[in-house]
Amino acid sequence: MSTSTVDRLEGKRRDARSEASARPISRAEGWRRRGPLLPALIFTVIVTQLPFLLTIWYSLHSRNLLRPESDLFVGLRNYLDIARDSTFRQTALNSVVITLGCVLVAMILGIVLALLLDRPFFGRSVARTMLITPFLVMPVATSVLWSIALLNPTYGLFNWVLGVFGLEAVDWTSTYPLIAILMALVWQWTPFMMLLVLAGLQAQPKDVLEAASVDGAGTWLTFRLITLPHLRRYIELGVLLGIIYVVNTFDQIYLMTAGGPGTASANLPFYIYQRAFLGFDIGQAAAMGVVVVIATIIVASAALRLIFRSFEVKE
Protein backbone atom coordinates (compact mmCIF):
# COMPACT_ATOMS: atom_id res chain seq x y z
CA MET A 1 0.00 0.00 0.00
CA SER A 2 1.37 3.37 -0.87
CA THR A 3 1.68 6.19 1.59
CA SER A 4 -1.02 8.14 -0.13
CA THR A 5 -3.49 5.31 0.42
CA VAL A 6 -2.64 5.26 4.09
CA ASP A 7 -3.23 8.99 4.35
CA ARG A 8 -6.51 8.67 2.55
CA LEU A 9 -7.61 5.85 4.81
CA GLU A 10 -6.71 7.78 7.87
CA GLY A 11 -8.74 10.66 6.55
CA LYS A 12 -11.65 8.32 6.07
CA ARG A 13 -11.24 7.05 9.60
CA ARG A 14 -11.46 10.55 10.97
CA ASP A 15 -14.59 11.19 8.94
CA ALA A 16 -16.22 8.01 10.19
CA ARG A 17 -15.39 8.93 13.77
CA SER A 18 -16.81 12.41 13.64
CA GLU A 19 -19.90 11.11 11.86
CA ALA A 20 -20.48 8.45 14.51
CA SER A 21 -20.19 10.95 17.33
CA ALA A 22 -22.52 13.37 15.58
CA ARG A 23 -25.31 10.84 15.17
CA PRO A 24 -25.49 8.49 18.14
CA ILE A 25 -26.66 5.02 17.14
CA SER A 26 -29.97 3.99 18.70
CA ARG A 27 -30.14 0.92 20.88
CA ALA A 28 -32.09 -1.19 18.39
CA GLU A 29 -29.80 -0.15 15.59
CA GLY A 30 -26.83 -1.07 17.76
CA TRP A 31 -28.11 -4.63 18.14
CA ARG A 32 -28.96 -4.86 14.45
CA ARG A 33 -25.35 -3.99 13.77
CA ARG A 34 -23.99 -6.38 16.36
CA GLY A 35 -26.17 -9.26 15.10
CA PRO A 36 -23.96 -10.41 12.22
CA LEU A 37 -20.84 -10.21 14.39
CA LEU A 38 -22.07 -12.21 17.37
CA PRO A 39 -21.97 -15.79 15.99
CA ALA A 40 -18.31 -15.45 15.00
CA LEU A 41 -17.41 -13.69 18.22
CA ILE A 42 -19.16 -16.17 20.50
CA PHE A 43 -17.75 -19.13 18.59
CA THR A 44 -14.20 -17.75 18.87
CA VAL A 45 -14.55 -16.99 22.56
CA ILE A 46 -15.84 -20.48 23.33
CA VAL A 47 -13.32 -22.42 21.25
CA THR A 48 -10.20 -20.37 22.00
CA GLN A 49 -10.71 -18.67 25.36
CA LEU A 50 -12.50 -21.30 27.45
CA PRO A 51 -9.76 -23.91 26.92
CA PHE A 52 -7.21 -21.34 28.00
CA LEU A 53 -9.09 -20.65 31.24
CA LEU A 54 -9.03 -24.39 31.83
CA THR A 55 -5.29 -24.39 31.15
CA ILE A 56 -4.86 -21.92 34.00
CA TRP A 57 -7.02 -24.11 36.23
CA TYR A 58 -5.03 -27.27 35.40
CA SER A 59 -1.77 -25.43 35.94
CA LEU A 60 -2.68 -25.09 39.62
CA HIS A 61 -3.19 -28.83 39.98
CA SER A 62 -1.01 -31.87 40.08
CA ARG A 63 -2.68 -34.11 37.58
CA ASN A 64 -1.52 -37.10 35.62
CA LEU A 65 -3.68 -38.57 32.87
CA LEU A 66 -2.58 -42.08 33.79
CA ARG A 67 -3.76 -41.60 37.38
CA PRO A 68 -7.06 -39.70 37.10
CA GLU A 69 -7.75 -40.05 40.82
CA SER A 70 -4.57 -38.13 41.67
CA ASP A 71 -6.00 -34.67 41.00
CA LEU A 72 -4.63 -32.36 43.71
CA PHE A 73 -4.66 -28.60 44.13
CA VAL A 74 -1.03 -27.54 44.47
CA GLY A 75 -1.17 -23.78 44.09
CA LEU A 76 1.84 -22.40 42.30
CA ARG A 77 4.06 -25.44 42.73
CA ASN A 78 4.03 -26.24 39.01
CA TYR A 79 5.34 -22.76 38.33
CA LEU A 80 8.11 -23.13 40.87
CA ASP A 81 9.07 -26.42 39.25
CA ILE A 82 9.28 -24.70 35.89
CA ALA A 83 11.49 -21.98 37.31
CA ARG A 84 13.90 -24.71 38.42
CA ASP A 85 13.59 -26.75 35.22
CA SER A 86 16.77 -26.30 33.17
CA THR A 87 15.24 -28.16 30.20
CA PHE A 88 12.47 -25.57 30.11
CA ARG A 89 15.05 -22.79 29.97
CA GLN A 90 16.97 -24.55 27.23
CA THR A 91 13.90 -25.19 25.10
CA ALA A 92 12.81 -21.58 25.62
CA LEU A 93 16.21 -20.46 24.34
CA ASN A 94 15.91 -22.86 21.40
CA SER A 95 12.51 -21.33 20.60
CA VAL A 96 14.07 -17.88 20.46
CA VAL A 97 17.02 -19.07 18.34
CA ILE A 98 14.82 -20.97 15.90
CA THR A 99 12.25 -18.18 15.57
CA LEU A 100 14.61 -15.23 15.22
CA GLY A 101 17.14 -17.18 13.15
CA CYS A 102 14.53 -18.35 10.70
CA VAL A 103 12.71 -15.02 10.42
CA LEU A 104 15.83 -12.90 9.98
CA VAL A 105 17.59 -15.15 7.46
CA ALA A 106 14.37 -15.69 5.54
CA MET A 107 13.72 -11.95 5.48
CA ILE A 108 17.20 -11.12 4.14
CA LEU A 109 16.93 -13.80 1.46
CA GLY A 110 13.38 -12.67 0.75
CA ILE A 111 14.47 -9.08 0.18
CA VAL A 112 17.26 -10.19 -2.19
CA LEU A 113 14.89 -12.42 -4.15
CA ALA A 114 12.18 -9.76 -4.27
CA LEU A 115 14.65 -7.18 -5.64
CA LEU A 116 15.79 -9.67 -8.27
CA LEU A 117 12.20 -10.43 -9.25
CA ASP A 118 11.21 -6.78 -9.41
CA ARG A 119 12.91 -6.24 -12.77
CA PRO A 120 11.61 -7.33 -16.13
CA PHE A 121 13.32 -10.41 -17.59
CA PHE A 122 12.41 -13.36 -19.71
CA GLY A 123 10.36 -15.98 -17.85
CA ARG A 124 9.85 -13.87 -14.75
CA SER A 125 6.51 -15.37 -13.79
CA VAL A 126 7.92 -18.89 -14.11
CA ALA A 127 10.85 -17.97 -11.83
CA ARG A 128 8.44 -16.45 -9.31
CA THR A 129 6.23 -19.53 -9.41
CA MET A 130 9.26 -21.74 -8.74
CA LEU A 131 10.34 -19.51 -5.88
CA ILE A 132 7.00 -19.57 -4.04
CA THR A 133 6.65 -23.35 -4.25
CA PRO A 134 8.59 -24.21 -1.05
CA PHE A 135 5.98 -22.33 0.95
CA LEU A 136 3.16 -24.36 -0.58
CA VAL A 137 4.58 -27.80 0.20
CA MET A 138 2.88 -29.42 3.19
CA PRO A 139 5.18 -28.87 6.23
CA VAL A 140 5.03 -32.55 7.05
CA ALA A 141 6.23 -33.34 3.52
CA THR A 142 8.93 -30.68 3.86
CA SER A 143 10.24 -32.40 6.97
CA VAL A 144 10.32 -35.78 5.24
CA LEU A 145 12.03 -34.27 2.24
CA TRP A 146 14.76 -32.55 4.23
CA SER A 147 15.46 -35.14 6.87
CA ILE A 148 15.47 -38.14 4.54
CA ALA A 149 15.98 -37.16 0.92
CA LEU A 150 18.39 -34.26 1.42
CA LEU A 151 20.14 -34.59 4.78
CA ASN A 152 20.33 -38.35 5.30
CA PRO A 153 23.95 -39.27 6.13
CA THR A 154 24.23 -42.19 3.69
CA TYR A 155 22.14 -41.37 0.63
CA GLY A 156 21.13 -37.74 1.22
CA LEU A 157 21.77 -35.39 -1.65
CA PHE A 158 23.61 -32.79 0.44
CA ASN A 159 26.29 -35.20 1.51
CA TRP A 160 26.72 -36.35 -2.06
CA VAL A 161 27.35 -32.71 -3.03
CA LEU A 162 29.82 -32.36 -0.15
CA GLY A 163 31.52 -35.51 -1.42
CA VAL A 164 31.85 -34.01 -4.90
CA PHE A 165 33.82 -31.18 -3.32
CA GLY A 166 35.94 -33.66 -1.38
CA LEU A 167 34.31 -32.96 2.00
CA GLU A 168 33.30 -35.55 4.55
CA ALA A 169 29.69 -36.63 4.95
CA VAL A 170 27.87 -35.01 7.87
CA ASP A 171 25.05 -36.56 9.90
CA TRP A 172 23.18 -33.26 9.88
CA THR A 173 20.16 -34.01 12.05
CA SER A 174 22.20 -35.48 14.91
CA THR A 175 25.38 -33.37 14.69
CA TYR A 176 23.82 -29.99 13.87
CA PRO A 177 20.13 -30.50 14.67
CA LEU A 178 19.28 -26.81 15.05
CA ILE A 179 20.99 -25.94 11.78
CA ALA A 180 19.20 -28.78 9.99
CA ILE A 181 15.84 -27.52 11.28
CA LEU A 182 16.71 -23.94 10.43
CA MET A 183 17.61 -24.95 6.86
CA ALA A 184 14.20 -26.54 6.35
CA LEU A 185 12.40 -23.61 8.00
CA VAL A 186 14.29 -20.90 6.12
CA TRP A 187 13.63 -22.74 2.87
CA GLN A 188 9.91 -22.80 3.68
CA TRP A 189 9.59 -19.18 4.92
CA THR A 190 11.78 -17.29 2.45
CA PRO A 191 9.04 -17.30 -0.23
CA PHE A 192 6.60 -15.82 2.30
CA MET A 193 8.94 -12.90 3.01
CA MET A 194 9.72 -12.55 -0.69
CA LEU A 195 6.04 -12.24 -1.60
CA LEU A 196 5.42 -9.55 1.02
CA VAL A 197 8.50 -7.51 0.05
CA LEU A 198 7.74 -7.92 -3.64
CA ALA A 199 4.24 -6.55 -3.07
CA GLY A 200 5.90 -3.59 -1.35
CA LEU A 201 8.28 -3.00 -4.23
CA GLN A 202 5.47 -3.08 -6.75
CA ALA A 203 3.46 -0.57 -4.74
CA GLN A 204 6.29 1.97 -4.95
CA PRO A 205 5.12 5.17 -6.60
CA LYS A 206 6.80 5.16 -10.01
CA ASP A 207 7.01 8.96 -10.31
CA VAL A 208 9.23 9.21 -7.23
CA LEU A 209 11.65 6.67 -8.70
CA GLU A 210 11.67 8.52 -12.01
CA ALA A 211 12.31 11.83 -10.27
CA ALA A 212 15.22 10.25 -8.41
CA SER A 213 16.75 8.96 -11.62
CA VAL A 214 16.26 12.35 -13.32
CA ASP A 215 18.03 13.97 -10.38
CA GLY A 216 20.93 11.62 -11.06
CA ALA A 217 20.60 9.35 -8.05
CA GLY A 218 22.39 6.04 -8.65
CA THR A 219 20.84 2.62 -8.08
CA TRP A 220 22.28 2.21 -4.59
CA LEU A 221 21.34 5.70 -3.47
CA THR A 222 17.79 5.29 -4.75
CA PHE A 223 17.52 1.98 -2.95
CA ARG A 224 18.83 3.31 0.34
CA LEU A 225 16.98 6.60 0.43
CA ILE A 226 13.70 5.77 -1.26
CA THR A 227 13.06 2.05 -1.61
CA LEU A 228 14.23 0.89 1.81
CA PRO A 229 12.20 3.47 3.82
CA HIS A 230 9.19 2.60 1.67
CA LEU A 231 9.70 -1.12 2.35
CA ARG A 232 9.93 -0.64 6.10
CA ARG A 233 6.25 -1.32 6.76
CA TYR A 234 6.31 -4.44 4.65
CA ILE A 235 9.47 -5.73 6.32
CA GLU A 236 8.01 -5.06 9.76
CA LEU A 237 4.82 -6.85 8.87
CA GLY A 238 6.74 -9.81 7.43
CA VAL A 239 8.92 -10.14 10.52
CA LEU A 240 5.90 -9.88 12.77
CA LEU A 241 3.73 -12.43 10.98
CA GLY A 242 6.79 -14.65 10.57
CA ILE A 243 7.37 -14.63 14.33
CA ILE A 244 3.72 -15.44 15.06
CA TYR A 245 3.81 -18.47 12.77
CA VAL A 246 7.37 -19.73 13.30
CA VAL A 247 7.26 -19.61 17.10
CA ASN A 248 4.62 -22.37 16.91
CA THR A 249 6.84 -24.63 14.78
CA PHE A 250 6.17 -28.25 15.62
CA ASP A 251 6.05 -30.43 12.50
CA GLN A 252 9.70 -30.05 11.48
CA ILE A 253 11.02 -30.67 14.98
CA TYR A 254 8.75 -33.63 15.60
CA LEU A 255 9.73 -35.27 12.31
CA MET A 256 13.33 -34.23 11.66
CA THR A 257 14.99 -34.57 15.07
CA ALA A 258 12.23 -35.40 17.58
CA GLY A 259 13.77 -32.60 19.63
CA GLY A 260 17.02 -34.51 19.91
CA PRO A 261 19.67 -35.48 20.49
CA GLY A 262 18.40 -35.24 24.06
CA THR A 263 16.56 -31.94 24.03
CA ALA A 264 19.19 -30.14 21.93
CA SER A 265 16.71 -29.10 19.25
CA ALA A 266 13.42 -29.10 21.16
CA ASN A 267 11.47 -25.84 21.26
CA LEU A 268 8.72 -25.00 23.73
CA PRO A 269 5.80 -26.36 21.72
CA PHE A 270 7.64 -29.65 21.31
CA TYR A 271 8.65 -29.83 24.99
CA ILE A 272 5.11 -29.10 26.18
CA TYR A 273 3.82 -31.74 23.78
CA GLN A 274 6.27 -34.23 25.27
CA ARG A 275 5.27 -33.44 28.84
CA ALA A 276 1.56 -33.66 28.04
CA PHE A 277 1.32 -36.57 25.62
CA LEU A 278 4.34 -38.69 26.43
CA GLY A 279 4.69 -37.83 30.13
CA PHE A 280 0.92 -37.36 30.67
CA ASP A 281 1.82 -34.64 33.16
CA ILE A 282 -1.11 -32.30 32.63
CA GLY A 283 -0.35 -29.87 35.45
CA GLN A 284 3.22 -29.19 34.37
CA ALA A 285 2.33 -28.94 30.68
CA ALA A 286 -0.50 -26.54 31.45
CA ALA A 287 1.72 -24.34 33.60
CA MET A 288 4.28 -24.17 30.80
CA GLY A 289 1.50 -23.24 28.41
CA VAL A 290 0.50 -20.37 30.68
CA VAL A 291 4.11 -19.14 30.88
CA VAL A 292 4.37 -19.27 27.08
CA VAL A 293 1.16 -17.29 26.75
CA ILE A 294 2.37 -14.60 29.15
CA ALA A 295 5.61 -14.29 27.18
CA THR A 296 3.63 -14.18 23.95
CA ILE A 297 1.32 -11.48 25.28
CA ILE A 298 4.31 -9.28 26.08
CA VAL A 299 5.80 -9.70 22.62
CA ALA A 300 2.46 -9.64 20.86
CA SER A 301 1.13 -6.47 22.42
CA ALA A 302 4.17 -4.63 21.11
CA ALA A 303 3.66 -6.37 17.79
CA LEU A 304 -0.04 -5.58 17.60
CA ARG A 305 0.62 -1.91 18.22
CA LEU A 306 2.92 -2.08 15.25
CA ILE A 307 0.28 -3.70 13.01
CA PHE A 308 -2.30 -1.14 14.02
CA ARG A 309 0.07 1.76 13.55
CA SER A 310 1.56 0.84 10.21
CA PHE A 311 -1.40 -0.87 8.56
CA GLU A 312 -4.90 0.05 7.72
CA VAL A 313 -7.06 -0.43 10.72
CA LYS A 314 -9.56 1.87 9.19
CA GLU A 315 -12.87 2.45 10.82
Partner: protein, 289 residues
Protein backbone atom coordinates in the same frame (compact mmCIF):
# COMPACT_ATOMS: atom_id res chain seq x y z
CA UNK B 1 29.56 4.04 -13.25
CA UNK B 2 28.88 7.50 -14.62
CA UNK B 3 32.11 9.10 -13.41
CA UNK B 4 33.73 9.06 -16.87
CA UNK B 5 30.71 10.56 -18.62
CA UNK B 6 31.78 14.22 -18.97
CA UNK B 7 35.09 13.34 -20.74
CA UNK B 8 33.69 11.01 -23.38
CA UNK B 9 31.46 12.17 -26.20
CA UNK B 10 27.84 11.70 -25.14
CA UNK B 11 26.84 9.07 -27.70
CA UNK B 12 29.87 6.91 -26.91
CA UNK B 13 29.18 7.24 -23.19
CA UNK B 14 25.56 6.31 -23.76
CA UNK B 15 26.56 3.27 -25.78
CA UNK B 16 29.01 2.17 -23.12
CA UNK B 17 26.45 2.65 -20.37
CA UNK B 18 23.96 0.69 -22.41
CA UNK B 19 26.43 -2.21 -22.81
CA UNK B 20 27.21 -2.06 -19.09
CA UNK B 21 23.55 -2.09 -18.24
CA UNK B 22 22.87 -5.04 -20.48
CA UNK B 23 25.80 -6.96 -19.07
CA UNK B 24 24.82 -6.43 -15.45
CA UNK B 25 21.19 -7.08 -16.39
CA UNK B 26 22.16 -10.43 -17.89
CA UNK B 27 24.18 -11.25 -14.80
CA UNK B 28 21.25 -10.47 -12.50
CA UNK B 29 18.89 -12.54 -14.64
CA UNK B 30 21.28 -15.49 -14.49
CA UNK B 31 21.57 -15.10 -10.71
CA UNK B 32 17.79 -14.97 -10.37
CA UNK B 33 17.37 -18.16 -12.36
CA UNK B 34 20.08 -19.95 -10.38
CA UNK B 35 18.35 -19.03 -7.12
CA UNK B 36 14.92 -19.98 -8.48
CA UNK B 37 16.22 -23.37 -9.57
CA UNK B 38 18.02 -23.79 -6.24
CA UNK B 39 14.86 -23.11 -4.24
CA UNK B 40 12.71 -25.27 -6.46
CA UNK B 41 15.20 -28.12 -6.62
CA UNK B 42 14.17 -29.96 -3.41
CA UNK B 43 10.58 -30.13 -4.69
CA UNK B 44 11.78 -31.37 -8.08
CA UNK B 45 13.95 -33.96 -6.32
CA UNK B 46 10.96 -35.16 -4.30
CA UNK B 47 8.92 -35.46 -7.51
CA UNK B 48 11.78 -37.26 -9.27
CA UNK B 49 12.28 -39.70 -6.39
CA UNK B 50 8.58 -40.53 -6.40
CA UNK B 51 8.98 -42.02 -9.89
CA UNK B 52 11.92 -44.26 -8.90
CA UNK B 53 12.22 -47.82 -7.66
CA UNK B 54 13.24 -48.07 -4.02
CA UNK B 55 16.84 -49.16 -4.71
CA UNK B 56 17.31 -46.20 -7.04
CA UNK B 57 15.80 -43.78 -4.51
CA UNK B 58 18.21 -44.61 -1.68
CA UNK B 59 21.36 -45.06 -3.76
CA UNK B 60 24.76 -43.52 -3.17
CA UNK B 61 25.70 -41.78 -5.47
CA UNK B 62 22.18 -40.55 -6.31
CA UNK B 63 20.49 -41.94 -9.39
CA UNK B 64 19.86 -39.25 -11.99
CA UNK B 65 18.73 -41.30 -14.98
CA UNK B 66 16.19 -44.08 -14.68
CA UNK B 67 13.04 -45.47 -16.24
CA UNK B 68 10.15 -43.75 -14.45
CA UNK B 69 7.64 -46.00 -12.76
CA UNK B 70 4.19 -45.38 -11.29
CA UNK B 71 4.56 -48.26 -8.82
CA UNK B 72 4.98 -45.97 -5.81
CA UNK B 73 1.87 -43.94 -6.57
CA UNK B 74 -0.07 -47.15 -7.05
CA UNK B 75 1.16 -48.47 -3.71
CA UNK B 76 0.22 -45.24 -1.95
CA UNK B 77 -3.28 -45.13 -3.42
CA UNK B 78 -3.96 -48.82 -2.84
CA UNK B 79 -2.90 -48.86 0.80
CA UNK B 80 -6.21 -47.68 2.26
CA UNK B 81 -5.17 -44.06 1.96
CA UNK B 82 -8.60 -42.99 0.74
CA UNK B 83 -9.93 -42.90 4.31
CA UNK B 84 -7.29 -40.30 5.17
CA UNK B 85 -7.99 -38.29 2.02
CA UNK B 86 -11.69 -38.38 2.82
CA UNK B 87 -11.07 -37.10 6.34
CA UNK B 88 -8.83 -34.32 5.05
CA UNK B 89 -11.43 -33.29 2.50
CA UNK B 90 -14.17 -33.14 5.16
CA UNK B 91 -12.02 -31.30 7.70
CA UNK B 92 -10.80 -28.80 5.10
CA UNK B 93 -14.03 -28.35 3.14
CA UNK B 94 -16.51 -28.13 5.99
CA UNK B 95 -14.30 -25.90 8.13
CA UNK B 96 -13.79 -23.52 5.20
CA UNK B 97 -17.55 -23.28 4.58
CA UNK B 98 -18.15 -22.64 8.30
CA UNK B 99 -15.43 -19.99 8.37
CA UNK B 100 -17.09 -18.15 5.51
CA UNK B 101 -20.58 -18.47 7.03
CA UNK B 102 -19.36 -16.98 10.30
CA UNK B 103 -16.66 -14.69 8.96
CA UNK B 104 -18.41 -12.85 6.14
CA UNK B 105 -21.23 -11.44 8.32
CA UNK B 106 -18.71 -10.59 11.03
CA UNK B 107 -16.52 -8.71 8.55
CA UNK B 108 -19.65 -6.89 7.34
CA UNK B 109 -20.41 -5.80 10.90
CA UNK B 110 -16.85 -4.52 11.20
CA UNK B 111 -16.83 -2.49 8.03
CA UNK B 112 -19.98 -1.50 6.19
CA UNK B 113 -22.41 -1.02 9.05
CA UNK B 114 -19.86 -1.00 11.84
CA UNK B 115 -20.53 -1.82 15.45
CA UNK B 116 -18.93 0.32 18.14
CA UNK B 117 -15.35 -0.46 19.11
CA UNK B 118 -14.36 -2.00 15.79
CA UNK B 119 -10.67 -1.95 16.60
CA UNK B 120 -11.19 -3.71 19.93
CA UNK B 121 -13.01 -6.54 18.19
CA UNK B 122 -10.33 -6.76 15.50
CA UNK B 123 -7.68 -6.74 18.21
CA UNK B 124 -9.43 -9.63 19.93
CA UNK B 125 -9.64 -11.73 16.77
CA UNK B 126 -5.99 -11.29 15.85
CA UNK B 127 -4.84 -11.87 19.41
CA UNK B 128 -6.34 -15.37 19.31
CA UNK B 129 -3.94 -16.14 16.45
CA UNK B 130 -1.08 -15.26 18.77
CA UNK B 131 -2.21 -17.69 21.44
CA UNK B 132 0.20 -20.61 21.09
CA UNK B 133 -1.65 -23.79 20.18
CA UNK B 134 0.29 -25.75 22.78
CA UNK B 135 -1.30 -23.63 25.51
CA UNK B 136 -4.76 -24.97 24.72
CA UNK B 137 -4.07 -28.48 23.48
CA UNK B 138 -4.17 -30.02 26.96
CA UNK B 139 -7.70 -28.90 27.93
CA UNK B 140 -8.95 -29.54 24.41
CA UNK B 141 -7.65 -33.08 24.65
CA UNK B 142 -9.20 -33.62 28.08
CA UNK B 143 -12.57 -32.08 27.11
CA UNK B 144 -12.69 -34.04 23.85
CA UNK B 145 -11.98 -37.19 25.85
CA UNK B 146 -14.82 -36.47 28.27
CA UNK B 147 -17.24 -35.66 25.45
CA UNK B 148 -16.15 -38.86 23.65
CA UNK B 149 -15.18 -36.95 20.50
CA UNK B 150 -11.53 -37.93 20.35
CA UNK B 151 -10.68 -39.43 16.97
CA UNK B 152 -13.76 -37.73 15.53
CA UNK B 153 -13.45 -35.69 12.36
CA UNK B 154 -15.95 -33.07 13.58
CA UNK B 155 -13.60 -32.15 16.40
CA UNK B 156 -11.03 -31.19 13.78
CA UNK B 157 -13.69 -29.33 11.78
CA UNK B 158 -14.50 -27.12 14.79
CA UNK B 159 -10.84 -26.51 15.67
CA UNK B 160 -9.89 -25.66 12.08
CA UNK B 161 -12.82 -23.26 11.90
CA UNK B 162 -11.59 -21.48 15.02
CA UNK B 163 -8.04 -21.52 13.68
CA UNK B 164 -8.95 -19.81 10.39
CA UNK B 165 -11.82 -17.56 11.46
CA UNK B 166 -9.67 -14.61 12.67
CA UNK B 167 -7.69 -14.59 9.42
CA UNK B 168 -10.90 -14.69 7.42
CA UNK B 169 -12.49 -11.83 9.38
CA UNK B 170 -9.46 -9.60 8.83
CA UNK B 171 -9.16 -10.51 5.22
CA UNK B 172 -12.86 -10.18 4.33
CA UNK B 173 -12.96 -6.86 6.12
CA UNK B 174 -10.18 -5.55 3.89
CA UNK B 175 -12.33 -6.42 0.88
CA UNK B 176 -15.55 -4.95 2.29
CA UNK B 177 -13.82 -1.69 3.07
CA UNK B 178 -12.98 -1.24 -0.59
CA UNK B 179 -16.66 -1.25 -1.59
CA UNK B 180 -17.54 2.38 -2.24
CA UNK B 181 -20.25 3.66 0.09
CA UNK B 182 -22.09 5.35 -2.80
CA UNK B 183 -22.93 1.99 -4.37
CA UNK B 184 -24.66 0.81 -1.22
CA UNK B 185 -26.43 4.14 -0.78
CA UNK B 186 -27.67 3.98 -4.35
CA UNK B 187 -29.05 0.50 -3.72
CA UNK B 188 -30.90 1.61 -0.61
CA UNK B 189 -32.30 4.69 -2.37
CA UNK B 190 -33.56 2.37 -5.10
CA UNK B 191 -35.52 0.64 -2.36
CA UNK B 192 -33.44 -2.51 -2.03
CA UNK B 193 -33.72 -4.03 1.44
CA UNK B 194 -30.76 -5.21 3.46
CA UNK B 195 -30.87 -8.80 2.24
CA UNK B 196 -31.38 -7.72 -1.33
CA UNK B 197 -28.44 -5.28 -1.15
CA UNK B 198 -26.32 -8.03 0.32
CA UNK B 199 -27.25 -10.60 -2.29
CA UNK B 200 -27.29 -8.62 -5.48
CA UNK B 201 -24.89 -5.73 -4.85
CA UNK B 202 -22.42 -6.52 -2.09
CA UNK B 203 -21.68 -10.21 -2.50
CA UNK B 204 -20.91 -10.05 -6.24
CA UNK B 205 -18.48 -7.21 -5.54
CA UNK B 206 -16.56 -9.09 -2.87
CA UNK B 207 -16.76 -12.52 -4.52
CA UNK B 208 -13.05 -12.48 -5.47
CA UNK B 209 -12.26 -11.69 -1.85
CA UNK B 210 -14.35 -14.63 -0.66
CA UNK B 211 -12.49 -16.89 -3.07
CA UNK B 212 -9.11 -15.63 -1.83
CA UNK B 213 -10.17 -16.10 1.79
CA UNK B 214 -11.35 -19.63 1.07
CA UNK B 215 -8.01 -20.42 -0.58
CA UNK B 216 -6.04 -19.37 2.50
CA UNK B 217 -8.34 -21.35 4.80
CA UNK B 218 -7.98 -24.43 2.60
CA UNK B 219 -4.17 -24.18 2.64
CA UNK B 220 -3.93 -23.91 6.43
CA UNK B 221 -6.52 -26.59 7.15
CA UNK B 222 -5.17 -29.09 4.61
CA UNK B 223 -1.61 -28.79 5.96
CA UNK B 224 -2.52 -28.80 9.68
CA UNK B 225 -0.73 -31.51 11.64
CA UNK B 226 -0.53 -30.73 15.36
CA UNK B 227 -4.24 -31.14 16.22
CA UNK B 228 -4.58 -34.06 13.83
CA UNK B 229 -1.66 -35.85 15.48
CA UNK B 230 -2.91 -35.39 19.02
CA UNK B 231 -6.66 -35.71 18.63
CA UNK B 232 -7.06 -38.50 16.08
CA UNK B 233 -6.08 -42.15 15.95
CA UNK B 234 -7.45 -44.43 13.25
CA UNK B 235 -10.93 -43.16 12.41
CA UNK B 236 -10.38 -39.44 11.83
CA UNK B 237 -6.70 -39.27 10.84
CA UNK B 238 -5.91 -36.89 8.01
CA UNK B 239 -3.35 -36.92 5.19
CA UNK B 240 -0.40 -35.44 7.15
CA UNK B 241 -0.88 -38.17 9.74
CA UNK B 242 -0.82 -40.77 6.95
CA UNK B 243 2.56 -39.48 5.76
CA UNK B 244 3.99 -39.63 9.24
CA UNK B 245 2.75 -43.16 9.82
CA UNK B 246 4.22 -44.18 6.44
CA UNK B 247 7.48 -42.63 7.57
CA UNK B 248 7.69 -44.45 10.86
CA UNK B 249 6.46 -47.83 9.67
CA UNK B 250 8.23 -47.90 6.31
CA UNK B 251 11.05 -45.43 6.82
CA UNK B 252 13.29 -47.18 4.34
CA UNK B 253 10.84 -46.78 1.50
CA UNK B 254 11.98 -43.36 0.41
CA UNK B 255 10.41 -43.48 -3.04
CA UNK B 256 7.02 -44.42 -1.64
CA UNK B 257 7.32 -41.70 1.00
CA UNK B 258 8.12 -39.13 -1.68
CA UNK B 259 5.15 -40.27 -3.75
CA UNK B 260 2.86 -39.87 -0.73
CA UNK B 261 4.36 -36.48 0.17
CA UNK B 262 4.01 -35.28 -3.42
CA UNK B 263 0.38 -36.38 -3.72
CA UNK B 264 -0.42 -34.80 -0.35
CA UNK B 265 1.17 -31.47 -1.28
CA UNK B 266 -0.13 -31.31 -4.83
CA UNK B 267 -3.61 -29.80 -4.18
CA UNK B 268 -2.17 -26.85 -2.25
CA UNK B 269 0.77 -26.37 -4.64
CA UNK B 270 -1.58 -26.19 -7.62
CA UNK B 271 -4.04 -23.89 -5.83
CA UNK B 272 -1.19 -21.61 -4.79
CA UNK B 273 0.26 -21.49 -8.29
CA UNK B 274 -3.08 -20.55 -9.76
CA UNK B 275 -3.92 -17.92 -7.15
CA UNK B 276 -0.53 -16.26 -6.61
CA UNK B 277 -1.99 -12.76 -6.38
CA UNK B 278 -4.54 -13.65 -3.70
CA UNK B 279 -1.86 -15.50 -1.78
CA UNK B 280 -0.05 -12.30 -0.75
CA UNK B 281 -3.20 -10.66 0.45
CA UNK B 282 -4.27 -13.71 2.40
CA UNK B 283 -0.90 -14.27 4.03
CA UNK B 284 -0.82 -10.68 5.22
CA UNK B 285 -4.43 -10.98 6.49
CA UNK B 286 -5.55 -8.37 4.00
CA UNK B 287 -2.92 -5.78 4.94
CA UNK B 288 -1.23 -5.94 1.54
CA UNK B 289 -3.13 -5.68 -1.72
Amino acid sequence: MSVAAPVVAPNVADARRETNRRFSGGLLTTLTWLLAIGFFFPVAWMALTAFKQENQAASDPPTWFFTPTLDQFRAVLEGGSMVYVGNSVIATGVSTVLVLLLGVPAAYALSIRPVKKVSDVLFFFISTKMLPVVAVIVPIYVIAGQLKVLDNIWTLVILYTAMNLPIAVWMMRSFFIEVPGEVLEAASIDGAGLMRTMRSVLLPMVAPGIAATALICVIFAWNEFFFALNLTASQAATVPVLIVSTMTSEGLFLARLCAAALLASLPVILAGWIAQKQLVRGLSMGAIK
